[in-house]
């Protein structure tokens, strides 16, 4: 019964996402992967924020709150259906290209990997330290009390180990599952965690399909699904893979905005950046980097466009995360206050970089964690060097560089023992960069063997949702 309730909750998340996508891309055509990847990702982020806002108003996650969200979602779907504005799923045999039949191989590998992650996740309760001490604990608190009168937990320094100021996306989504089930069952509740984790694969596939044909995109997605680090962190109940998943969406749509300047892409870039910022503190920094890159590259399209796009991005980001930023401001920051430490003592700790950077580089050569993925990415960059001519590829390189630099600087000022901390966290932090690395591998691959004039133009179909009218 609990499992059924949890599945219904996930279905609601999918419906919320589908509704939002239909609002953003009215009357558009969606691929199946957009339906099972992009829609649920948007739905999950939206549900997390909705539950947070409701909790701020005094309503802890409950079946009533979920029922209201469900009714509003269904009503919106009905209205859009009447106005013929719903996104439609596109499945046409004519879209298939030569060689796509081989897709069954990477597809089987991907599904096998993901099924294994799901089965293992659901066969045990929360066991990872961070999973129960940080994320699971917060989920219990949020399921139990609304945020309107800040629960005592958030000011209890004896629970400082659970990082009182960490963002609440994953805890709220888990608390929503507890509300749906009517009980705190962390083993069944892991379904939410594993749902968020495996969404990374279709999100990355979508980004790859933007520039690659189906088969190479599926092969790179299979590589992601089979990474040992995915098995290590998939379904354990931590927020690292959800952050990577939302970050994948944000950088994909930042890149698309830079390439095409379509407002739908900017809206999705804002949504995913806001979701990432509400998932982990790293996400806030990554969201700001997205905005800076949008501004920087926008300047190349004319100052007005840059100003409007960047202003819209920052305004949207602030509007969505303002409540969190304001509410979170009063929480105690004990032990780890990286923002303050970076501002106050970075200069004195910079020499640590000579240990940190080599350690990060060595980690990429850990075959038992990453396989040969980093080497493959390097090879693709060399073979597809022409992709450097693409602004969106350059933008992603800059984002990846900033991302890695920010983590290196955080390591510089950490209050923990650096050697111990790096050995415990470096694979998890590099996991956040995986979407950018695989996108770069794929987008460089798209330029392999192309002539200079046609570089990148013949690689694949675009999976952008197209207006139905334009398709005929």
């Amino acid at each position: 019964m609990a499992l059924l309730a949890c599945c219904l909750y996930l279905l609601l998340i999918v419906l919320v996402g589908y509704t939002l996508l239909s609002v953003i891309h009215p009357s558009s055509r969606m691929t199946i992967v957009q339906l099972i990847g992009l829609g649920p990702a948007v739905g999950a982020g939206t549900m997390g924020l909705l539950l947070f806002w409701a909790s701020l108003m005094g309503f802890a996650p409950s079946r009533n709150v979920l029922a209201i969200i469900a009714v509003l979602t269904l009503a919106s779907l009905l209205v859009m259906e009447k106005k013929n504005r719903l996104a439609r799923v596109k499945v046409r045999a004519t879209d298939w290209e030569k060689g796509d039949g081989w897709m069954v191989v990477p597809l089987v590998v991907t599904v096998a990997g993901l099924v294994m992650i799901v089965v293992v996740a659901l066969s045990s309760p929360l066991m990872e330290w961070d999973a129960f001490a940080i994320w699971g604990f917060k989920a219990k608190v949020l399921a139990h009390e609304a945020l309107r009168l800040t629960p005592a937990y958030f000011h209890d320094l004896t629970l400082s180990y659970s990082h009182l100021d960490y963002p609440l996306m994953v805890p709220f989504l888990t608390a929503g599952a507890y509300a749906a089930m009517g009980t705190v069952d962390d083993q069944t509740g892991k379904l939410v965690s594993v749902f968020l984790d495996v969404l990374l694969v279709p999100m990355v596939y979508l980004g790859l399909r933007w520039k690659l044909r189906r088969l190479p995109a599926a092969c790179l997605s299979a590589i992601l699904a089979m990474l040992p680090v995915m098995f290590r962190y998939g379904g354990v109940g931590c927020a690292d893979l959800p952050l990577a998943m939302f970050y994948a969406g944000s950088i994909l749509y930042v890149a698309r905005w830079i390439d095409r300047q379509q407002w739908q892409d900017l809206i999705l870039a804002i949504l995913f950046s806001a979701f990432a910022a509400f998932t982990k503190n790293e996400g806030t920094v990554l969201a700001l980097m997205n905005g800076v890159v949008i501004l920087g590259f926008g300047l190349g399209c004319g100052p007005r466009h840059a100003r409007v796009g960047a202003a819209a991005f920052f305004a949207g980001l602030l509007a969505m995360d303002a409540a969190w930023l304001i509410w979170n401001r009063g929480l105690p920051r004990t032990h780890e206050d990286y923002g303050l430490k970076l501002l106050s003592s970075l200069a004195t700790h910079l020499p640590e970089l000579k240990h940190i950077i080599p350690a990060m580089m060595l980690q990429t050569a850990e075959f038992h964690t990453w396989g040969l993925m980093w080497i493959m990415a390097g090879m693709m960059v060399l073979l597809g060097w022409r992709a450097f001519a693409r602004p969106y590829v350059l933008a992603l390189w800059i984002l990846l560089g900033l991302h890695l630099m920010s983590y290196a600087l955080v390591y510089c000022v950490t209050p923990w023992n650096l050697t111990t901390l790096m050995s415990m966290t470096i694979d998890r932090l590099l996991l956040h960069t995986i979407p950018a690395v695989i996108f770069l591998a794929g987008w460089h691959w798209a330029e392999v063997g192309t002539s200079p004039r046609h570089a990148g133009s013949g690689g694949s179909n675009d999976v952008t949702a197209q207006p139905a009218a334009a398709a005929h």
């Binding site: 590998v109 990997g113 294994m116 089965v119 293992v120 045990s124 309760p125 929360l126 066991m127 330290w129 129960f132 001490a133 699971g136 604990f137 219990k140 139990h144 000011h155 209890d156 320094l157 004896t158 629970l159 400082s160 180990y161 659970s162 190479p216 092969c219 790179l220 299979a222 590589i223 089979m226 040992p228 098995f231 390439d259 004990t334 032990h335 075959f367 038992h368 396989g371 040969l372 993925m373 080497i375 493959m376 090879m379 693709m380 073979l383 597809g384 060097w385 022409r386 450097f388 001519a389 693409r390 602004p391 691959w445 392999v448 063997g449 192309t450 002539s451 200079p452 570089a455 990148g456």
Partner: protein
């Protein structure tokens, strides 16, 4: 004299003209084969990595199935959760005894015990320090050495004590002691349960 031809804005839309893509010819087909070769090699290598007995996949499968590894991994969780379940209503005091008060070797297991029981018991509380003391790890709990009086226990609705470490009674870590119902007397000795 003809003017130098500059790329038009439409030509440049979507990509930058660089010195690289003007000058270097390439055999496209061999590059494409090379790219495919690299990707397939990586995919096969990853599959092979997961098929090895010591792979992440095998390890988590061992934990997920009814194996010795699973029992070992689950035993500690189940033990701590069971102790927390026996605490009944009311809050719990975490008390260190014997070597656990000073031995740095137990910092890690003490921290784990506190984190796990705090999680399992919520919304009831495990008190290991006054609310204004920061606890980030087991060392903090040992440093604080919290030992409140009966009045404090009563005010905070503490009805049982979790003892971590050995004591004069020869008990081993961890175990639970239920406090007697309060009738004006302080004390913490009756039912002993949990632990091993």
């Amino acid at each position: 004299m003809s003017r130098v031809r500059r790329p038009s804005s439409s030509l440049n839309s979507g990509k930058l003209e660089t010195i690289l893509n003007q000058l270097i010819p390439a055999d496209g087909r061999s590059f494409r084969y090379a790219a495919w070769g690299v990707v397939l090699l990586v995919l096969v290598h990853l599959c092979w990595l997961q098929l090895r007995p010591e792979s992440e996949l095998h390890q988590i499968c061992a934990v997920a199935t009814q194996s010795t590894a699973r029992r070992a991994a689950m035993m500690q969780h189940e033990q701590f959760d069971r102790i927390a379940g026996q605490a009944g209503d009311g809050n719990v005091l975490l008390k260190l005894a014997g070597y656990a008060k000073t031995n740095p070797a137990v910092e890690n297991s003490l921290g784990y015990f506190y984190f796990r029981t705090s999680y399992a018991l919520y919304p009831r509380r495990v008190y290991a320090a006054p609310a204004d003391q920061v606890i980030n790890n087991g060392r903090d709990i040992m440093r604080i050495g919290f030992s409140p009086g009966p009045q404090w226990l009563q005010e905070h609705d503490v009805r049982s004590v979790l003892i971590f470490g050995n004591d004069t009674a020869g008990g081993e870590t961890p175990r639970l002691e239920i406090l007697p119902p309060r009738d004006g007397q302080a004390g913490m000795q009756t039912n002993k349960s949990g632990g091993n």
